[in-house]
């Protein structure tokens, strides 16, 4: 298998993931997002604060084509990256199959890229974030995300080194534990963002639950589709090799 195989498989799996994320986000996420926007508009009428001039996209477009653009683009981008990460992991994580190392990469990806950043800096609906702190919040979120990805890569590289000496159980324990210690420390040290104010708790909960469900669907479909595609290619290669060996033996 070549890097190209993994990239093509990753992009394809990412596209499926983007479609799944769109469907989940549209079905579960749009209702609380609409509620949040109507609350925001009530609020902005009271305080007289209006959106700055610029392009306005209708709510209908934002919640359909705009949302689909976002989920498909993120799906394809993550798919390509995860595909290539799986290509690097191939044959480097002990004696496991291509499908197994690929599944591991997707699982680590979900935890490091989506789940852990969400636990520290969860998604917020419109009307919750203060527009003046967007720079600060963006910096915090991406610093934490970057650290999480680096710590996860370091943990996996370390695990690959430790594996022959410690065995699977202790290696996984050490690597996962190491990642956890780094991230818990970082989460303790980095500032908390709380701009919720008097926003209704039930809407916030529904929005955040829909957001993490969207992310989980994206990563689940990405992982499952990529493992399926890699497995199919691997089987084809095995059949080809067997045929070649048979031909050579005649």
């Amino acid at each position: 298998m070549t890097p190209r195989t993994f990239l093509v498989h990753g992009l394809l799996a990412g596209l499926f993931a983007g479609i799944a994320a769109f469907l989940v986000a549209h079905a579960l996420g749009e209702p609380p997002l609409e509620t949040a926007i109507s609350l925001e508009q009530e609020h902005s009428h009271e305080s007289g604060h209006e959106h700055e001039n610029g392009v306005t996209v209708s709510r209908e477009n934002q919640s359909t084509w705009g949302l689909a653009t976002g989920t498909l683009a993120i799906g394809a981008a993550l798919g390509g990256l995860v595909g290539l990460a799986a290509a690097v992991a191939l044959g480097r994580l002990g004696r496991i199959r291509a499908t197994q190392s690929t599944a591991l990469v997707a699982l680590v990806g979900f935890v490091a890229v989506a789940l852990v950043p969400f636990l520290k800096y969860p998604a917020t609906p419109p009307a919750v974030g203060d527009p003046d702190t967007i720079g600060h919040r963006t910096a915090l979120y991406f610093s934490f995300l970057g650290l999480s990805v680096l710590a996860a890569i370091a943990a996996v590289v370390l695990a690959a080194r430790l594996l022959p000496r410690l065995g699977t159980y202790r290696t996984v324990l050490a690597a996962a534990g190491g990642y956890l210690v780094v991230m818990v420390l970082a989460a303790e040290l980095m500032p908390t963002v709380d701009e919720v104010g008097s926003f209704p708790a039930s809407t916030l909960w529904e929005f955040r639950r829909s957001s993490i469900t969207t992310l989980a669907s994206l990563w689940a479909v990405l992982g499952v589709a990529l493992v399926g595609l890699v497995g199919r290619t691997q089987e084809k290669l095995a059949v080809e090799n067997a045929r070649r060996e048979l031909a050579a033996s005649l």
Partner: protein
């Protein structure tokens, strides 16, 4: 008398050499991060190009995929 050794449940998969992986990695990382930047952060904290058309278009995705928006 020889005892047949049970087949190992694991397999050896040849790794792709890093030298062969590197150009693919660099290209994908660059393009992938660029796409993620435009969907997740552009015309929020940083604006390239100026304006809010990209922000407005991917707005719902930005909120629901967990990126800081507004």
């Amino acid at each position: 008398m020889a005892i047949a050794t049970p087949a190992a449940p694991t397999v050896d998969v040849p790794a792709i050499p890093l030298r062969q992986l590197l150009p693919w990695l660099a290209f994908t990382a660059l393009l992938g991060l660029l796409v993620i930047f435009f969907v997740s952060a552009d015309q929020g904290a940083i604006s390239i190009p100026a304006g809010n058309a990209i922000h407005e278009w991917v707005h719902d995705g930005r909120h629901l995929l967990g990126y800081p928006c507004h």
